[in-house]
């Protein structure tokens, strides 16, 4: 490296971003472009940073594959932080392979981590989990290790494995402390918050109380038949009956579970499930049909029996029945409830799940997006909706050093 590049890199490493910029401001050779890009990213000008890193990657010579790959990784990280999901993941994977084959294990692992963060961000949890299991975090220095553990914690939270989430957060915390970066430690603390605040409400035998995530997890593994109104699933003894695409059936089972062990009058069920004010004969006939369908769905888990005035739920093996409800309910809350699984939903799938018209769902999504409670990825028919990620990974940039001699 030449003298001014060395001086600028040294300034950048010591946190003197402006000093680094000053030294290379007028230069347009590859290392200078890369340093300017990293400096601009640290100053928060992500658009300029991306453009600079892109030109740097182009300007490095054919023998400087490592330097070029590091620019690509930095570009990918900036794209991720600025939620630019159009950025090509293939380029990141190619860069990761170059770094690995040249023995730059740290930045190769960093690239792998960015790829996993992207998968979580676009709601592909299964793939993210697989990639996470395949990544060896050993070469990662403390700051990157903390980021890695935060992704792991984010996935565990979404998978409702609170013990594993807590362990990952603990590893993230100690790594952040080793890194000596207060911002990062604060990010870890914020991410851990999700475990200590109520995640849902439990409604059982006419009472209701807030539940922590760990209590939700315990509820699912205990001997209770849970009508999960957060994800529209009926769960018991490890079995799960998804009713997300059967809104009427879900409304009925929820009403029955809320009343359990008592029964629910036909009129009340009709009013709730069909939104009919008066229960006439045709409604009663329809109710019978839907209850029949519900019986079929729940077979093995619970029985729905007719009573004098209506219907009652009786769990097959479970000792208790409870409803797990979102903290806040309302038309939009139902949308949020579905998105709480961290997966990416199309608006038409949401409309089916909610039993609402696509236009209603679209209006709800638009208004939630306005409040930044949901985010859209993709365009047109490929557009998907997600809840913003739980603060499951740092929003600060942990960029690779752009130059191979760093």
């Amino acid at each position: 490296m030449d003298s001014l590049i060395t001086a600028a890199a040294q300034a950048l490493a010591s946190g003197d971003t402006l000093g680094a910029l000053k030294r290379v401001a007028l230069r347009d050779d590859a290392p200078a472009l890369a340093l300017r890009g990293i400096a601009m990213a640290q100053l928060g000008d992500l658009i300029r940073a991306k453009a600079l890193l892109k030109s740097a990657a182009r300007a490095f010579g054919p023998r400087e594959a490592v330097a070029r790959a590091r620019c690509v990784v930095a570009e990918a990280e900036i794209a991720l932080v600025s939620r630019d999901l159009t950025w090509p993941p293939k380029a990141l994977e190619a860069a990761r392979k170059v770094l690995e084959s040249h023995g730059d294990r740290v930045n190769a692992a960093h690239a792998g981590n960015i790829a996993i963060r992207r998968l979580v961000l676009i709601g592909r949890l299964d793939e993210a989990e697989q990639a996470l299991a395949a990544l060896d975090p050993t070469p990662l220095p403390p700051a990157l290790r903390a980021a890695h553990e935060l992704v792991a914690a984010g996935i565990e939270v979404r998978r409702l494995r609170t013990r594993a989430a807590r362990a990952a957060l603990e590893r993230a915390r100690s790594a952040a402390q080793r890194a000596g970066m207060p911002v990062l430690t604060a990010e870890v603390e914020a991410a851990g918050h999700v475990l200590s605040i109520p995640a849902a409400r439990l409604v059982s035998r006419g009472h209701e109380r807030p539940l922590l995530l760990a209590e939700v997890e315990a509820l699912f593994s205990g001997g209770t038949l849970v009508v999960d109104a957060c994800r529209h699933i009926v769960r018991a003894a490890g079995a799960a009956v998804p009713l997300a695409s059967r809104p009427v059936l879900f409304t009925l089972v929820r009403a029955l579970a809320e009343a359990w062990p008592a029964d629910v009058a036909r009129g009340a069920l009709i009013a709730r499930a069909f939104r009919g004010k008066h229960a006439d004969e045709s409604h009663r006939a329809r109710l019978r049909v839907e209850i029949g369908r519900l019986r079929a769905e729940l077979s093995g888990l619970a029985e729905v029996s007719a009573t004098k005035r209506g219907f009652a739920l009786s769990p097959a093996g479970a000792a208790e029945v409870a409803v797990l409800a979102p903290l806040v309910e309302g038309p939009h809350a139902a949308v949020l409830a579905f998105l709480a699984d961290g997966e990416a939903w199309s608006s038409s799938a949401l409309a089916i799940a909610l039993g609402a018209s696509p236009r209603t769902v679209q209006r709800a999504l638009d208004s939630l997006a306005g409040e930044e409670k949901v985010q859209a990825i993709g365009r047109g028919r490929a557009r998907r909706w997600m809840s913003p990620p739980l603060s499951s990974f740092p929003t600060i940039l942990l960029l690779p050093g752009p130059l191979p001699s760093d």
Binding site: M1, D2, S3, L4, I5, T6, A7, Q10, R23, R27, D29, A30, G61, R63, E64, A65, V66, A67, H102, G103, P404, S405, D406
Partner: protein
């Protein structure tokens, strides 16, 4: 052109508080190396850093028999090794794109990294007297027995090459083993080169052929 693989005779470092090596010179007793914010005097026999001077040192280093010359940002400082004082400063010919410095025949020779050339300059004024083109990036320059040698390091490839000071033609090449690069080059005046190892923080003694 003769081509051979460089023979590494000895490795020094890495050293505490001197993570990278940006320039190397030899005063007959100590190997001085630039590590960013200080110049370190290494005893080549014991492998110990004996003392250091706190001074900006971002690229090449040279010794004229009495004083040290050190590239910092876009200038060259002349430093008294006894006191550590900067005696004078001249502009570097590559405006900060400089990498590699040598003293010979009463003048300074400065490598210009991506410019792929070597300038001969007046040590008092910085005036460029002559320019030799190379076809590789220059990461170190040295003169020994009337031979001009320079180091190159691009990505995975690094070598030490002797070039014709008139034409720039490559006369001889020593390829560095994989994973070792040359940042900073100096001869001990005899059968050995001292090579800076960049971010490895090492200095390597390499056999000079002939």
């Amino acid at each position: 052109m003769k081509t051979s693989t460089a023979t590494i005779l000895r490795e020094y470092g890495p050293f505490p508080d001197a993570e990278r090596v940006h320039g190397v010179t030899f005063d007959g007793r100590h190997v001085w190396f630039a590590s960013g914010d200080r110049l370190n005097a290494l005893d080549p026999d014991s492998g110990e850093v004996m003392r250091f001077i706190e001074v900006a040192s971002h690229a090449g280093t040279a010794f004229d028999g009495e004083f040290l010359y050190q590239i910092a940002e876009d200038v060259i400082h002349k430093i008294d090794p006894k006191t550590g004082q900067i005696l004078s400063t001249i502009p570097a010919p590559g405006n900060g794109g400089d990498s590699g410095l040598a003293w010979a025949e009463g003048t300074l020779w400065v490598g210009q990294h991506r410019g792929r050339r070597i300038h001969q300059i007046d040590p008092d004024t910085g005036e460029i007297l002559r320019t030799i083109e190379s076809n590789r990036v220059v990461t170190g320059v040295t003169w020994v027995d009337g031979q001009l040698w320079h180091g190159t390091w691009e990505g995975d490839d690094s070598d030490i090459r002797r070039i014709d000071p008139q034409t720039g033609e490559v006369l001889e090449r020593l390829d560095m083993p994989e994973g070792t690069g040359v940042s900073g080059l100096e001869s001990d005046g005899a059968a050995c080169f001292f090579c800076g190892g960049g971010n490895s923080g090492k200095i390597r003694a390499v056999r000079r052929p002939g």
